[in-house]
């Protein structure tokens, strides 16, 4: 069995398999990639390189989009 790790997405703690690729996580969340931006540990992630990032314990991910307001 694969080792599980805890990470945080938009301030919610979730458990995932160790070394899950960021691209797989985004896919599972069903997030429309073209309409969001992603931060990993406060650094913006190039959306083209999501499959090159393996998530590790305590990673903090932010997924943001636009809402009306100003």
């Amino acid at each position: 069995m694969k080792k599980k790790i805890k990470i945080k997405i938009n301030d919610k703690i979730i458990k995932i398999d160790d070394k899950t690729k960021l691209s797989d996580l985004i896919k599972n969340l069903n997030v429309p990639l073209k309409k969001v931006a992603i931060e990993l540990n406060r650094e913006i992630v190039d959306k083209k390189k999501l499959n090159k990032i393996n998530l590790k314990i305590n990673d903090k991910i932010e997924i943001v989009h636009f809402i009306g307001g100003g």
């Binding site: 997405i9 997030v31 406060r42 997924i63 943001v64 636009f66 809402i67 009306g68 307001g69 100003g70």
Partner: protein, 231 residues
């Protein structure tokens, strides 16, 4: 939220400000803004509403750019939670950094002509002075300052915040502003769609009035009918 889209359409607005917020990852069925407000039909202006320092503002706009390549952004760095006045030192610093990073920065600022000049000097793309505190509905408190700013800059000048009714927009346009940014005055009106329409007409009227060249102000009366042929 379709109400919002409808009001925007009625108002005739060319630009809509948008905020960067977390995606609701548990409720994916909620529609996204881009689903009902097509960014190809109306210009999205990512903004930093709610940011109280340069760090937060820069982070927000860098994320906004990442969402879809937006370079035109609105910078708003607030300094006081009760009056929501802009923190101009942080604003100036952020404008300079963002401009160097290739952003075109429309800057929410106070109505101080000297500060407006400094923003222009560090590369601001538009000056957006407040009429009055955000959401106050007081209208333009310092017309003279707005006029001075108008006379000193060729940059787009847009009144941002504090308008309360349609006639305030007319005054802004008559002072030579290039536009107004309105949210609360329409959203919180008893009839938002009617108010959106009123603002549309008010902006058009004000612009036409400005371009038509108003008469001089005189202290004494001056008859408008000819005296010739008087009985």
């Amino acid at each position: 939220m379709t109400e919002c889209a409808r009001a925007i359409k009625i108002s005739g607005a060319d630009i809509v400000t948008v905020a960067v917020r977390r995606v609701n990852i548990t409720n994916k069925k909620k529609p996204l803004l881009m689903d009902y407000l097509d960014p190809k039909k109306i210009t999205y202006l990512p903004n930093t509403a709610g940011c109280f320092n340069s760090y937060e503002a820069l982070r927000t706009l860098r994320l906004a750019r990442e969402i879809g390549g937006w370079k035109l952004v609105k910078l708003e760095v607030l300094g006081d939670k009760s009056n929501l006045f802009p923190e101009m030192i942080e604003t100036l610093r952020s404008t300079e950094i963002l401009t160097k990073e290739g952003f075109k920065v429309m800057v929410y600022c106070n109505d101080d002509p000297l500060m407006a000049k400094r923003l222009e000097n560090v590369g601001a793309a538009a000056i957006m002075p407040l009429a009055a505190p955000i959401g106050s509905g007081l209208g333009i408190l310092n017309k003279i300052n707005i006029q001075i700013i108008r006379n000193q800059t060729k940059l787009p000048l847009i009144i941002d915040a504090g308008l309360g009714q349609a006639s305030d927009a007319t005054i802004a346009m008559e002072l030579g502003c290039d536009g107004v940014l309105v949210n609360t005055a329409i959203a919180k009106a008893k009839k938002p769609f009617e108010m959106a329409k009123a603002f549309r007409n008010a902006v058009i009227a004000g612009r036409q009035s400005y371009l038509s060249g108003r008469i001089e102000k005189k202290v004494m009366g001056s008859a408008s009918s000819p005296k010739k042929g008087i009985i």
